[in-house]
Symmetry: C3
Amino acid sequence: MPRLLYGGDYNPEQWPEEVLAEDVELMRLAGVNLATVGVFAWSRLEPAPGRYEFGWLDKVLDRLAGNGISVALATPTASPPPWFGLAHPEALPVDQNGVRLSHGSRDTYCASAPAYREAAVAIATALAGRYRGHPALAMWHVHNEYSSTCHCDLAAEAFRCWLRARYGDLDALNDAWTTAFWSQHYGDWAQIQPPRATRYLPNPAQVLDFRRFTSDELLAAYTAQRDILRAATPGVPVTTNFVLGGWVPVDHARWAREVDLVAIDHYPGDPGIGAEEEAAFAADLARGWARHSPGRPDWLLMETAPNLIYAADRMHTKEPGRMARQSLAAVARGSAGALFFQWRAPRGGAELFHSALVPHAGPDSRVFREAVELGGQLERIAASAEGAVRARAAVAYDEPSAWALQAPGLPSRRLDHLDEARHAHRALWRRGIVADVIGTLGELSAYAMIVLPGHYLMSDDQAGALRSWVAAGGRLVATFLSGVADEYGRIRTGGYPGALRDLLGVRVEEFHPLGPDERAGLCSGSGELWSETMRLAGATAVVRYAGGVLDGRPAVTRHAVGDGAAWYVSTRLPADRYGGLLGAVAAEAGVGPECEGAPPGVEAVRRRVGDRSWLFLLNHTGEDHEVRAAGVELLSGKAVSGAVRIAAGGAAVIQE
Amino acid sequence: MPRLLYGGDYNPEQWPEEVLAEDVELMRLAGVNLATVGVFAWSRLEPAPGRYEFGWLDKVLDRLAGNGISVALATPTASPPPWFGLAHPEALPVDQNGVRLSHGSRDTYCASAPAYREAAVAIATALAGRYRGHPALAMWHVHNEYSSTCHCDLAAEAFRCWLRARYGDLDALNDAWTTAFWSQHYGDWAQIQPPRATRYLPNPAQVLDFRRFTSDELLAAYTAQRDILRAATPGVPVTTNFVLGGWVPVDHARWAREVDLVAIDHYPGDPGIGAEEEAAFAADLARGWARHSPGRPDWLLMETAPNLIYAADRMHTKEPGRMARQSLAAVARGSAGALFFQWRAPRGGAELFHSALVPHAGPDSRVFREAVELGGQLERIAASAEGAVRARAAVAYDEPSAWALQAPGLPSRRLDHLDEARHAHRALWRRGIVADVIGTLGELSAYAMIVLPGHYLMSDDQAGALRSWVAAGGRLVATFLSGVADEYGRIRTGGYPGALRDLLGVRVEEFHPLGPDERAGLCSGSGELWSETMRLAGATAVVRYAGGVLDGRPAVTRHAVGDGAAWYVSTRLPADRYGGLLGAVAAEAGVGPECEGAPPGVEAVRRRVGDRSWLFLLNHTGEDHEVRAAGVELLSGKAVSGAVRIAAGGAAVIQE
Amino acid sequence: MPRLLYGGDYNPEQWPEEVLAEDVELMRLAGVNLATVGVFAWSRLEPAPGRYEFGWLDKVLDRLAGNGISVALATPTASPPPWFGLAHPEALPVDQNGVRLSHGSRDTYCASAPAYREAAVAIATALAGRYRGHPALAMWHVHNEYSSTCHCDLAAEAFRCWLRARYGDLDALNDAWTTAFWSQHYGDWAQIQPPRATRYLPNPAQVLDFRRFTSDELLAAYTAQRDILRAATPGVPVTTNFVLGGWVPVDHARWAREVDLVAIDHYPGDPGIGAEEEAAFAADLARGWARHSPGRPDWLLMETAPNLIYAADRMHTKEPGRMARQSLAAVARGSAGALFFQWRAPRGGAELFHSALVPHAGPDSRVFREAVELGGQLERIAASAEGAVRARAAVAYDEPSAWALQAPGLPSRRLDHLDEARHAHRALWRRGIVADVIGTLGELSAYAMIVLPGHYLMSDDQAGALRSWVAAGGRLVATFLSGVADEYGRIRTGGYPGALRDLLGVRVEEFHPLGPDERAGLCSGSGELWSETMRLAGATAVVRYAGGVLDGRPAVTRHAVGDGAAWYVSTRLPADRYGGLLGAVAAEAGVGPECEGAPPGVEAVRRRVGDRSWLFLLNHTGEDHEVRAAGVELLSGKAVSGAVRIAAGGAAVIQE
């Protein structure tokens, strides 16, 4: 029988033993079926090097199993205990100024340090050995939010090894990094360092490769544990929770291939409706990554905050019902369930005010009552877990491109590939068009329409794949800076956007970045952030600039190629205008909204399997709305024919 | 004969010898009776390790004594000479990034370094031996503004010793610090470090204890000197000048027990009337600390700038007359006099534009003429030095609570206990109600009314003392976050504000922090910064929220307890509204303004002794005002019956 | 035959060999006659210590020479190769926190490290030996933009040596640095450190001397190379390109004596007309420095960006024609030509989007077409290279004063000598008055009028020179803070502005700095930034304050002295008002605009030699303008009699 996962991080080690009984009782009350255990328990599991204390964890797993609650068992390697740094000072991380970090927070390790790798493998091995047959064990949760960078000498040595493997010989590296600039030609591998504090602007190719290296180094730390766990428990899925953000040195599209289930943590940064747009983007991104996962098409919202959004330097408590609606929205977009950080609010520690299903006030509280209600809802819609979301539109989001655009020497400091990807996704979301957010440009045939939002780096292979896909009928929308550089960040000369110039049928000569209050006039309306001097080279102008130095020049173009077409957008169109353009392209591609006639602010997504489908309707507005639908509304259990009424802030799930 | 101290920091070592004669002449002209000498003279007193040069200081003290000017003789230990760091590099301080600081400013020492402690004791011993019988010696001024933190290995070792003494065993520490969070369980004392640069959020309990440790460590450095000086000169009071500010790692309420006279430095940060409010707060705080000082009820304004206020990145020159009025205001609130930093403006050094009684322009200047006038005024009101201020209201300000609210993981980054304490004090000040600002919650019987402004940390003992005091008739006003945590910063679960929940008769479930431009609607007006979901549990609602998610819920409550009552204020009331509430509570407590009918902006405070009293009236406004009073106005020497007229910006001191 | 230099930085080492042929072809097309080669080529010239590879450079120089293009051959010492830091870690620079910087950018060396000095001399010697007779060699370009500071122990030792030489004995240093403040008296030279991270405010005199030391240390690194090059090629001018900015630790007025041709790099920071004002200031500053250069009265714009202005965090592409007009403006003000950074836009590296004459788009581009046009224009006006600009007004800009005003302890954080100098220069520029910007106060007889804009430091010699010059008929305008301190930054006591008090006939007692939105009322209008309490002491009031505490007091004064007069301006007058005052002073001094009747925004400057002159007219406005002129307009080749019409954004050069 299909089920949706429900629960979250559970840290009984923070509480006296008697709290465990109350917790399990409350979990049953709430319908929790999965508890993530042990994420930060290393210092309790291995209080001294090699001395394990599993007794307390045995009790926790036994009691959970005894009450029908499964466990995502974590390896605790994200936070080495205090004894670790004391025993292995060389394995504490070093920042780019050469400051060796101290214990006292979490994530204080260098992923390249043998001592760390060995200690991590040892505790993972011990856990696998101890719990391989435990009835509670349903999933392995390796580490937590891999995201740590280190600039120490061990990392430097590993970086050089990685570069040798990547480039083979120094000439290739010197060429890829353009080391002729500023006299950086390397004559020996030993001369290469991580990007540490230096006098002035760093070499952007070095910085980019160092982030790629860090991603691979962390991945190696992950796979080392994964392989042990897989070997011990072949049937138990192994994953790690991805954390999103421009600072994270992880190329998740590559990582997705190595997990059995893509799992993400999501903490939106906008207290308003923006949180829903951001959550939809994160969900569609996780789903896009899951395309590469060998396991399954769904993904898992592994962590989110039950009752708060942290934004603008303060916590925002969610309105009544919002926790449930957001959880259903994640399931709508393909999540295997709704897990939270965390079960019970801690008394102390760095995150003592982080929200929990059982808050400081205890179970006699609004949030816990809503948690109980949500548990029931997830059970009622459990059948939908079999369905999968099928999108025919896609937005490309390439983490290395995002990293490359963070370099300090670019034409504008306001360039942000993630922002542009979210801008495109938001425009589609607002029109009700469901899109995957994809991290690679291979296997495009599922899509009728793709948006490249400032996809700065582009290899010849990627450009070739896009060309073929367009020629075969695809509709491509590329925005400014897409394809300008190759995969090493080198400009493709001869006119921007080099890799896509011919496909788009344009030639861009000059950039005109805009300030926060500047706009580039268009024949109607205006563009923001960016504008360009462009010449047509096969394309036709769809929109032209008006006024200023660009007066009359093309701003948006269309180029018919084979059975498809390629649009180029040389400025940032405001949301409405952008939505209009993308809607028109979608129409040409035969892609429409998921639910014709759903009013603005009412999110509609379907999960399907075979000829069955579940239509999720999420009303993010402050007013009741009616939407055309037919079937059984699972939350209420009532039949729906013709239309369903969704209360303000409420949701409906129609089994069609 | 009582006298008020008048003078300030005097640094003749910065000048050629002939300036000394002129200085003493000018001091006599101005009526200066106390010069603080030697504060930063270590490198002149001990130009090489163990080699003392006291000749120049002998001359200074002899000449001052010969002219009837007393000396507060400083130990110069706040600024070790350049030779010190060269000889003892391990005694230079280290910041939290591991950067060892260099000589070149002041305060470059680690208080835990034996070399520093020994050098400090040695110079203090030498000074005590040399000047124990000198007729100029009236006071010992140890060090200057103790405030230096160090994160070096010596400090780390001392921190561990301090923790051992505080907690006895590691279990207690692990529990107090909630080290189960993020795998920070300590298995050995040696694993504990100061809060140094780490990957992410630090453990707030570790940070809080490190500040307490630093306070105690500096206190030990102080008492080591004090004991030597007391032994050498039993009759001479020993003190050190307290510096205020959120960054200062000193718990002054604890320190006050160890000084013979509480002395503060005060530099307001607001060029307008806010400076007067801030000065009143600082004075009342010093008076509150002085309650714990074994010596005497008055305190001393040891440093303030004669003619400038530094605010908003620039110096603001005081208006004519303001220096005198501010000095009289300090005396009004219990200061033993008015001392300034500094006597003569220096030619160079880091503070070369700091204001002085003798400015760069020399004695032919407005500021020096005003200094002469002030000297005369202080002499005319000298009798008031016998009187003491008696306040029946109090505002609690707890420095560890202020530190704890500086942690990064709190619900809002805008929480500031000092701000809240000042907000409450200001509301009382504007209504003419004199309040002590108290640093501990013991010995409360003198007060009829106490305000707890976000007193975040609260021990069981403190909560018990408040309960007894209210039951015995006290009127308590507690604002949001008071009592939420115990003394280690652990949340008291079961509903906020844990320690005070029963006394206040409320149960708070959720916080709703507000942004800079947000307001929480109230039945009339609105609150700022913070709001809460609260349930009544014995209390009655005095004010309710209106609009938004909190509509109709209680915002301000009153709970009758025994002979007293306890109010809870769950939002920040704007100044006027807050004043209205506190005024009503005060009326219920039988506490009224010092001077009925004094107009806004005219500060009124009394010093009393036996049946004698002196009413100080400070007109901070730009207009003349009349105030009812009777007695002799000492500044003019005229009899007052019925009313006294105070010129705009002027002052009156009525011997009643 | 006179010629104007035209070209820029050329880096063929960044490209495959075949690009060289295309480059030279394009250079010929554009009329380029000077290529700066080798600036960052160290790692290509000396790929391993002592192993030189000159072959590629031979080819470059041969081909350039063969096509009639001269070379400014650079020593590549601004960017040591990666092998350097690996071989000599002690020669990598250290910042003030003790962080040793890493290779990965440029300028990663310590100028005090013997290893660096030796390596620099070696490569310079090798280049001199190799190319001493090469027909392409027209100039030596030593290093690039000397500007690197180091705080390492080698720098500390060198700093101490420099101080010994400057002060002779420690007493003099202790006195100059006012080390009696905060116990900083030095008992041994070994105790002195560079200004490294310290607890609180540093000693400003130490900081000031460390910048002077750094300037001298870099200068020694320069002269070591220069002497080698001069010896090898006596006839070839040697220079280095000066970079401007408040952070640069170089006293260019001292350096100017050591170069054969003052060369500057100029990158304005304002995308609008402000760029023209800034460029004029930079040009006049270079010309002022050139007065001290033993070589020649002209100077050289060595680097500027062809087609962009970087301002407000983004690149601004220049409007059509602006590159040419700005180039002609530089020539107008005495530049020996127009050189750019750089010839061809790079594919990678830290500045990959920096503008170039051959942009990423290639030669089929607006910017390259404009480059070709500019080449023709420079050829047509080549005769003007013989002329020199002769200014009778001057604005003093003293880099050490600018450094001293960056100290943190000053009355306002908004003080900026460069801003004040630019403010004065701009007021003159807008009135069409040509002024030198002079870096020293010797040899003043050429000027009828001098402005001292906040010339904070002033030695007795400087004050004496000004006094004599005024007495002999000079018109001096000094603004606030001028002469307040001596050359060590010590206040001259007795009333501000000490060194100039008598000459100006005033005595300032107090400062009243103003906030960003504050104004000091004047009898008409208002002043900004600053105001003062001033007493007349011989001068007469020209403008008085109105309102506020300064009501009725003098604000601007005039003091007749001998045959001249000295004005004092105690506040910052807004641009128009300031222009009015300076215009009146200029009229009294007999100094008028270069071209009577030129409309606002049309810049007019003359180069003259003997009785020949060239009038440059630059129309920076968006409208056509007519200006009275007679002669031959060289750009068009047409005769002009009576008036010349200059198109919007265009230029004219009249051979009169």
